[in-house]
């Protein structure tokens, strides 16, 4: 995709020769499902110059390298995987944003802030400062690599994340290895197995610290033609090998350990929002999600700055990220039309074993979140959880969701209680 030309009459800020300054109406940082969908609606609604930046050469975000089906909306609530292949989905999102009139600029990185709604960006065309009336952050999430999970051992070659594996195999046609251990047992881990197989790598085992999923839920996992061994209640405690990985040491909950020979290990899942730009802009994060704290209109604490997609929650399906972009675009339009930026609102906190909630700020009487529900995560399985929302000890809501709550999977909480919250009261607390 060719970078667009800069808008009319660019100029250099005083004291910064060579840096171009311009203005746009909406600047969307990140051209994944969330950012592209927001831009599409904004451009279609006539929001003025709507520009999407992406640091990769092609727009589309993560789906660019997910060479499997399961993308796009089939069910509006995304309970069932969609029909499209990742790259096809990415291309459609980009084409739709373009034809709606958004400008797509690739190979351009937002590197920092030069003002509250002014971003500094670098690309082959130079350095620019772009000031927008509204900024939408949609920078996505990444998987925690080995070191961030504090897995000791040597530092050999052959240690990957799913993101790197998919790109290496599908976009770069690289050789991977011959025997792999995959860390994780979620859908993403099963996708990694398929990618490994496509690259001619045998998966020795999937390793998960969790107990097996109940059978009905495990049926929703992508199933390989030949089944792979899943070692449950097991963790990787050491990487072995100089130069190239030769094995991983595993430890079962019961204390047994063993070294499994392999030349490749893939760390899957364990997401962390890519919040660098948000933090560098001084935008407060939610302590649970580690993404920017946003209200149900996807507004951050910084006037004019919105955040959507997996930057808010690591991770949801692409369709959810995209829908958030679409819903947020409606709020961006209201902001552009002059709706005042509200105060920070009430923080939404969770109690253990819940890990986080998104969105995580509430204005009583404000708009409902996407699909009228909050997304939660739990650290351990809960067979029949009873979700309770309280404020200063007063119970606002109590209900059992129809499904068990499982780690790594969304747990949903209805949003009907938000209007009952006291705007002058304390934090809203979600417990089980």
């Amino acid at each position: 995709m060719r970078p667009d030309g800069p808008s009319a009459r660019p100029h250099s800020p005083a004291g910064h020769p060579g840096i171009t300054e311009r203005t746009v109406d909406v600047l969307v940082v990140g051209g994944g499902p969330a950012g592209l969908t927001a831009a599409r609606r904004l451009a279609a609604a006539g929001a003025g110059r709507v520009e999407v930046l992406d640091r990769e050469r092609e727009p589309g975000g993560i789906p660019r390298h997910c060479f499997h089906g399961g993308f796009g909306a089939r069910d509006p609530r995304h309970l069932v995987p969609g029909p499209l292949h990742g790259p096809e989905y990415a291309r459609r999102l980009a084409a739709d944003a373009l034809s709606a009139g958004a400008a797509l600029r690739t190979s351009v990185t937002a590197t920092g802030w030069a003002g509250p709604r002014t971003l500094e960006i670098t690309g082959p065309g130079g350095i620019e400062r772009v000031t927008a009336r509204a900024v939408v952050l949609a920078t996505g999430a990444r998987e925690r690599p080995r070191a961030a999970r504090l897995i000791p051992g040597t530092r050999p070659a052959g240690v990957l994340t799913t993101g790197e594996l998919q790109q290496a195999v599908h976009l770069h046609g690289r050789r991977i290895g011959s025997r792999a251990v995959v860390v994780g047992a979620d859908a993403i881990a099963h996708n990694a197995v398929l990618t490994l197989r496509a690259a001619g790598v045998e998966t020795v085992a999937l390793v998960s610290s969790r107990p097996p999923l109940p059978v009905p839920l495990s049926l929703s996992l992508p199933r390989p033609r030949r089944p792979v061994t899943v070692l449950h209640r097991t963790t990787v405690t050491e990487l072995v090998g100089h130069g190239r990985l030769t094995g991983v040491r595993l430890r079962h909950e019961d204390g047994r350990t063993a070294v499994v020979a392999c030349d490749t290990v893939v760390f899957t899942g364990d997401w962390i929002p890519d919040h660098e730009l948000a933090r560098r802009g001084g935008i407060p994060l939610d302590p649970g999600t580690r993404g920017p704290a946003v209200d149900t209109a996807y507004r951050t604490a910084e006037p004019g700055v919105f955040a959507v997609g997996n930057l808010l929650h690591g991770v949801e399906r692409a369709g959810i990220a995209a829908e958030e972009g679409r819903v947020a675009a409606g709020q961006v339009l209201r902001h552009l039309a002059g709706e005042p930026w509200p105060g920070p609102g009430l923080p939404v906190r969770v109690g253990a074993p819940l890990l986080w909630a998104a969105p995580n700020r509430v204005h009583p009487g404000g708009p409902p979140p996407l699909y009228g529900r909050f997304i939660l995560r739990t650290a351990r399985p809960l067979a029949l959880p009873r979700l309770t929302v309280s404020q200063d000890g007063r119970i606002l809501y109590r209900r059992r969701p129809p499904l068990p709550a499982l780690p790594g999977r969304p747990v949903h909480l209805g949003s009907g209680w938000t209007s009952a919250a006291d705007p002058a009261g304390g934090a809203l607390l979600i417990t089980v």
Partner: protein, 479 residues
């Protein structure tokens, strides 16, 4: 015209060298750079595929003042001198340095009581700026410090430096000055016919009149091949945790531990790349390859870090590594000329070798004539300028004039570290080129950031393979 020569494979030149330096760590490379001033045929050889791939790549990267050295020791003098030499050299060549100053924070009575003696020791080491400060001043300067700090010794002269660029700068200048660099070249045996050393290496024989042993952890083994048994190296492992760049604003100084009878403690320090590191451990081992991290080691670091700066420990971890110090039974460097063997050994360069490297090299040049080597007149070396990978100076992605001249400097490949295609291209075709993913990371930081390759890994690997193919070397496998 100067002959620029770096080899990584194939047979070695048959000619006889005047001097061979074994070990292209920071010390051997600094020595080779000094030798390049003289009309000598010199080779620098290393077992690894890059310079600085041993202990020199894995340390805490502090340019020490030497305030806490053993007064009167050779180490004390060479650290003191080396610090000034390297600071000046860094300014001239563009090696990233940040003069942050250090605080030795006392967390209990015993540590507080140890500060006056440390201040006195600094004086005896010729360092006069150290001063004791009270808790209010400590918290004013380091507001994010955990509770309970009782005071500190302020050592304003301590800096952080880039260890990778330092070794690379020495080696680059040596090679440009005519030194031949042979990598993947482990010296396995040495036969001395009284006039020549015939070295057996993994790449065939190599003949030299004089030999300098700068083999770091393996200096004792190499010495034994020469028939000398002056010391034994015991690797002392130091594990380190590197935190995300977003933690950098938490820390202003190098926060050093106060050494006491109970132990040495760990430091918290910014790096020139804008990260914050926590470590190192100190574990005496016997395996010289044990550069692995351990569960206990990392757990110990985190629990000490929790006390020093709780907010730091809550940040994301970017990477973990371990280095091995060349500890010996002697409490000082072991730098000795051996006239009978026409050789010189640089051993026991334990935990200050980066700082002292240029002074060690100067000291070696003073001793070399004792081995019968006539150095002859010295000439000035062509100045060099190294690519900047430090955060305190503008990086290429921040320089509009550079991008305007060559858009490759505005084309970012590694997003977390903001490394451009232009920088990667430069590193792959440099005088001492990057031949591996690790070598490229040490020259550019590519793949060294928080995602560890999630976004950019395969793109970087492709660039490495293309460069290798152009050089005629086999490709690398995706890491």
């Amino acid at each position: 015209m100067i002959r620029v020569r770096v080899t990584t494979a194939g047979p070695l030149p048959g000619a006889t060298y005047d001097v061979v330096v074994v070990g292209a760590g920071v010390v051997g490379s600094a020595i080779a750079r000094e030798l390049a001033r003289h009309r000598l045929r010199t080779a620098l050889v290393d077992a690894r595929d890059d310079v600085g791939d041993g202990t020199s790549k894995a340390n805490t990267a502090i340019l020490h003042t030497g305030f806490d050295a053993v007064p009167g020791s050779l180490e004390s003098r060479l650290v003191r001198e080396g610090r000034h030499l390297l600071a000046a050299y860094a300014a001239e060549t563009g090696i990233p340095v940040e003069p942050l100053g250090a605080l030795l924070v006392a967390w209990d009575r015993e540590q507080l009581d140890a500060l006056p003696a440390l201040a006195a020791k600094a004086e005896r080491n010729g360092y006069h700026e150290a001063a004791i400060i009270g808790p209010d001043e400590v918290y004013r300067r380091e507001p994010r410090l955990g509770p309970g700090a009782l005071g500190a010794l302020d050592v304003p002269g301590e800096s952080v430096i880039c260890p990778w660029t330092t070794t690379l700068a020495y080696a680059t200048q040596a090679v440009r000055g005519g030194v031949e660099l042979h990598l993947n070249c482990r010296v396995e045996n040495i036969a001395d016919d009284g006039e020549h050393h015939e070295l057996t290496t993994g790449r065939g024989p190599l003949r030299t009149r004089h030999l300098i042993n700068a083999a770091g952890l393996h200096a004792d083994e190499l010495d034994r091949r020469l028939g000398r048994d002056d010391f034994t190296v015991t690797p002392r492992r130091g594990q380190l945790i590197v935190f995300d760049k977003l933690a950098r604003p938490l820390v202003n100084h190098i926060l050093l531990p106060v050494p006491t009878a109970l132990g040495k403690g760990v430091l918290v320090s910014p790096t020139v790349y804008g990260n914050v590191m926590l470590g190192p451990t100190a574990e005496d081992l016997d395996d010289k390859r044990a550069t692995n991290s351990t569960e206990e080691g990392l757990r110990a670091l985190l629990s000490q870090g929790e006390r020093i700066m709780p907010e730091l420990v809550a940040e994301e971890i970017t990477t973990v590594y371990a280095g091995l110090r060349s500890a010996t039974e002697h409490e000082d460097y072991r730098i000795r000329a051996h006239p009978a063997q026409r050789s010189l050994t640089v051993g026991g360069i334990r935990s200050t070798g980066l700082t002292a490297s240029m002074a060690i090299a100067a000291h070696v040049m003073d001793l070399l004539p004792e081995t019968g080597l006539a150095l002859g007149p010295a000439r000035e070396l062509e100045p060099i300028r190294m690519p900047n990978i430090g955060e305190a100076f503008p990086r290429p992605y921040q320089r509009p004039e550079l991008i305007a001249a060559d858009p490759a400097y505005g084309t970012l490949v590694c997003h977390c570290e903001r490394v451009s295609l232009g920088e990667i291209r430069d590193a792959l075709t440099a005088t001492v080129p990057a031949c591996s993913a690790d070598g490229l990371r040490r020259r550019t930081r590519a793949r060294g950031g928080r995602c560890q390759g999630f976004y950019c890994g395969p793109a970087v690997d492709d660039l490495l393979d293309t460069a290798a193919a152009e050089r005629g070397a086999p490709g690398t496998v995706t890491r």
